[in-house]
Symmetry: C2
Subunit: 353 residues, 2 copies
Amino acid sequence: MIDLDILERNIERMAAAVRDKGLTLRPHAKTHKIIEIAARQMAAGAAGLTVATIGEAEVFAEAGIEDIFIAYPLWISTQKAERLRRLASTARISVGVDSAAGATRLGSGLGQASGRVSVLVEIDSGHHRSGTMPEAAAAVAEAASRAGLQVAGVFTFPGHSYAPGMPAEAAAQEQQALFLAAESLAAAGFEATCRSGGSTPTALLTEGSVATEVRPGVYVFGDAQQLELGRCAVEDIALTVAATVVSHHETSPDAPARFIIDAGSKILGSDRPAWATGFGRLMDHPDARITALSERHATVEWSESTVKPALGDGVRVIPNHVCLAINLADDVAVTSRGTLVDRWDVVARGRNK
Amino acid sequence: MIDLDILERNIERMAAAVRDKGLTLRPHAKTHKIIEIAARQMAAGAAGLTVATIGEAEVFAEAGIEDIFIAYPLWISTQKAERLRRLASTARISVGVDSAAGATRLGSGLGQASGRVSVLVEIDSGHHRSGTMPEAAAAVAEAASRAGLQVAGVFTFPGHSYAPGMPAEAAAQEQQALFLAAESLAAAGFEATCRSGGSTPTALLTEGSVATEVRPGVYVFGDAQQLELGRCAVEDIALTVAATVVSHHETSPDAPARFIIDAGSKILGSDRPAWATGFGRLMDHPDARITALSERHATVEWSESTVKPALGDGVRVIPNHVCLAINLADDVAVTSRGTLVDRWDVVARGRNK
C-alpha cells in the first residue's frame, strides 16, 4: 500500500532540497519500478532517471522518459548491445563503465551506435563494490573514448552510508572520490561534466562543490532501515505491507509470547543489516519487533506494557529495505487519507536482465 | 536455470525414499511454483501438493491438481472464503488451523461449504512460529468440528531443523509433538488420520510410526543452505542463477581482492542464516564466497590459490534459499546436458494472497 500524500510530499521535498543546492536530481527508479511515480519525479524537476538494468531502462523509455542512466558496469552480449541500440534510438542513454575491457566491449558491441551512448566511469568511494579507484578513472575513460563512446563524467554509489553514523563520513569520501576522479579525467583531457553521487542517506549532505548530480532512490517511500538510521521519520513512510495477525501465543516454558502475521520474506524481502533491530517495523506499534521471518510468516514480539493487536487485527508493516519489497509485488494499492484511490502496476518488477 | 536431469532424479529419489518408509508424500510447491514440476511430483507418486496461500492453491487447482493442502493458519475474509469455496468445488482442499477463533471463523466464512473443507490442526514442534501446543490441539479441533469442518488430523513444520546438527533433534521433537497432538485429539474423540510433518532436512529421518505424511519442498532443487547443512551434494543442485563477472579488483590498501557478479538480492534473495558461509555459493568455484550482496551485485572473494574467472566469464550461482530465488523470476530456462530444452513459467510467483 502506498500513501499518495506522503509519497508526493517526499518527492517534492527531495526535489526542492536538491534544487536549493544547485544540483541535478536523477532519482533511482529501482526503488519503485512504477511509471506513475517516475512521472511525478519528472514533473517535480528530475533531469532523468537512474536504473540498474537494461530491462528497467526499456520499461521507462517506453513510458516516455527521455533521459536514462543505467548505473551499472554492463558486460555487453550481442543481444544486450542490440537492446541498447534500440534504447538509444528513442532516449538519451548513458551507461556505467568501470574497466577498460568493459568499455571497449561496450563500444564495439554498439558499433555505429556507440556515438549515441555516453558513459560515466564508476569509481569506488569506499563501498568496495564495483567501481575503479578514482585515480585510475582516466584509463577507463580513454578506453571508452577509443571505442567511440562519449565520456560524460564519473559516478559513485556510497553504499557504506547505510550504517549508523556513516552518512557524513561516506558523503565526505564520496566528494573526495568524485574530485580525484574528475582530476584524473582532466589530466587525460576529458572534462567530467557530470559528477554523479548520492544515495538517500547522503543526498542532502552532498556539497554542490564537487558533485553536480545526485541519484537517491529510497526517499520516495522510506523504509525501516532509513527510519532506524534516523534519515526519515515514521510520518515519511509512504509504503507499508498490509498484514493480518493469524496466530497468537502466550509465553510458554520454551518460547516467548509472540504474534504471527501473514507477511514474510516473500513480500517484505529479507535484508537485515546487523545494526537493524529486526526484519522490519510495525507502523502503529513502535515497540514491536519482528524477531524472525520466514517466507509467509513474521514472528512479532511486543514489550510487556504495550497494547497488542488481537488475532485477526490488521497491521501495517514497514519493510527493512523497500526496494526489495516493491520487487515482490505485481501491483500496489494507492491510498489517500485512508481511502483507496488507485492501483499501480509495478511494471519494472523482475526486469532482471 | 534448472537442470532437468538432476531435478527428475531428486523427485524420483525423494518419492522412493518416502514410499520405502510407508509414508505419504505431499511436496510443498512453494519451492518451485511451477506446474511442470508439480506434474512430475504427482507422476512420481505424490498424493497431492502443499501450498502456503490461497493464490498458490488456485494456480495448481486450475492446472488439475485435485488434492491441495494450504498449510497455513488462514484468517478468512469474506473474499477469501469465497475463493476457498470455489477451490473446494473443484479440488479436495484442506487448510491449517491453530486457534479456536481461526477455526470458528473459517467454518462460518465457508458456511454451507464448510463440510467440503477439512482442517489439520497446526502444532508447534519447537520452531516456535505458528502452531498450538500439542496438548492443546483438541480445543482447536473441537472448535473446527463445531463450525462444521472435517478434522483430518494434525501437522507441524520443524523449521528449526534448518541449522547445523539440528535435523535429528528436530525430527525427534517433530515425532513427539505429532504423537502428543494425536493423543490430544483422540482424548476428545477425533482420529488424527493424517499426521503430517517433514521439511527437507527431516523428511528422510522421519519415522513412519507417528507421522503418516511428509511435506518436503526444497529437495527438488537443493540450495546453498542444504548444501552447507550437508543435506544435499553439489551434484544434487538443480537450480542455479546464471551470472557474469562484471567487475574485478585487485587487493588495495582499503579492500580485499574481489569480483563483482551481476546477480544480487533481486534474483538470489537475501536470506543468510548466521551459520551460512555467505550469501550463496558458486557452482564451479567451491572456494569462492559471496561476502556481500546488494540488489544487482554480489561481491565474491576467492582464496589465493584458486583459479579465478576472468572479467566477462559466466558463473553459476547457487542461491542460499531457493524458495526465495524462484519467486524472483518470471520464467526459468530448463537445460539437459548443457542444452536448453524448455522454458517454464513460474506461474505461482507472487501469489501472495
